[in-house]
Symmetry: D2
Subunit: 100 residues, 4 copies
C-alpha cells in the first residue's frame, strides 16, 4: 500500500535549536524507494507503507542516539485506492484549480 | 521501542457520518500488546512501535475494504529513552501538577 | 461557528518534563464557554471558534511567560454545518456502533 | 505574537476530490500580512497570530459555503520568543546543517 506522509519530528530536552536533529533525520529518510521534500514545517514523504514507517522509526532511533531523551512527532498520512497520486500530483491538482 | 500514539482516521468519499468506520477501526486496534483509549478526537494507543504501526496499517486496509476510497490520518507519537511512561502516567503527571 | 478541537502543546527548550506547562495551560483553558477534557495526548476543547483560539493563544502567552522560549502546538479541529455535535456525542456515536 | 503554521483542510461529505476546496482556501489565505507556501500535504503560513487564525476561520466559512457540511483541519504551529524566524529561515537552518 502506497502512502503519502507529512512528517515533523520535535526532539525534546536538547535545547531550543533543533535543526541538527532534523538534518540527521533527513539523511536517514534519503533511501531508495522514498521520495522526500523538505518544507518549512516538516518533510513530505512518498513510498510504500512499510518502507516509510521503517524510515520514520530509524529517524527516532538516530535522534535518540544523538542524545535526545524524548521525541514528539506528527504524521499526517494519506492512502487511496481509487488512483495513484504522487507528491507532485497533489500540488498540481490545487494549482490547476487556481488557474482554472 | 515503546511508543505512545494519538491516532485519528478520517475516511474520505463515504459521506458525512464516519462513526461506522471509526468503530471498525477500534475493533482492529483491540489486539494483545496494545492498550487503547477512545476519546472525542481520536484514539490513544500504547505499545511496541512495530505492533502499533501494524495495527494502524490494518485499520487503513479494513476501512478501504469497507468502501472508503481515500483516508486521511493524523498521528501524534512520542518515544522516550529516559523512562517508561504509560497513557495513564501522562494524564496523572498533569493532574498531579494541577492539584500541587 | 462552533468548533471541536484536540490541542497538544509542546514547550521546547525547558528540558524533558513538560507537565508543569501543560497543567498551567489547562488552567488557562478553564474558562466559561469552553468544555475541556484532558487525555493522554492532549486536551479536547468544545466552544465558539473565537473563544477557543483566544484561549489557545493565552496558553502560548502563559507558557512563554513561564520561560519556554519556543512552543510547538498541534491542533486537530472540526466544524460542521449539518448538525450540532458535542465532545460526548462524538464518543457516543462510535461506542453505539461498537455495541450495534 | 508571530506564528508559523502548517495548515491542512479536509472537507468531508463532498466526495473524494478535494482540490477545488483547497484552491478556494488558498485564495482566502492570500491576504496582506500573510506569507503562504503550498506544499503537497498542506500550506505553510507566516503572520501575526490573530491574522493567521482569522484567515483559517475564513477558509472554513468559505468551504462550508461551497457546500461541505463538515471539515477536518490540522494545524501545526510554532511560536518563539528567543528570535525572529521566517518560513525560509526554517528550511535554510536544516539545509545549512546538511551541507555542514
Amino acid at each position: 500500500m502506497k502512502v503519502i506522509v507529512d512528517f515533523t519530528l520535535v526532539p525534546i530536552g536538547v535545547g531550543v535549536s533543533l535543526s541538527e536533529y532534523v538534518a540527521a533525520c533527513e539523511e536517514v529518510l534519503n533511501r531508495p524507494g522514498l521520495t522526500t521534500e523538505l518544507h518549512a514545517n516538516g518533510t513530505n514523504i512518498e513510498g510504500e507503507w512499510d518502507d516509510v514507517f521503517a524510515a520514520i522509526r530509524a529517524c527516532h532511533e538516530k535522534v535518540h542516539g544523538m542524545g535526545a531523551p524524548r521525541i514528539h512527532t506528527n504524521i499526517k498520512l494519506g492512502t487511496r485506492t481509487d488512483r495513484e497520486q504522487s507528491l507532485e500530483d497533489k500540488v498540481n491538482s490545487v494549482v490547476a484549480r487556481q488557474k482554472g
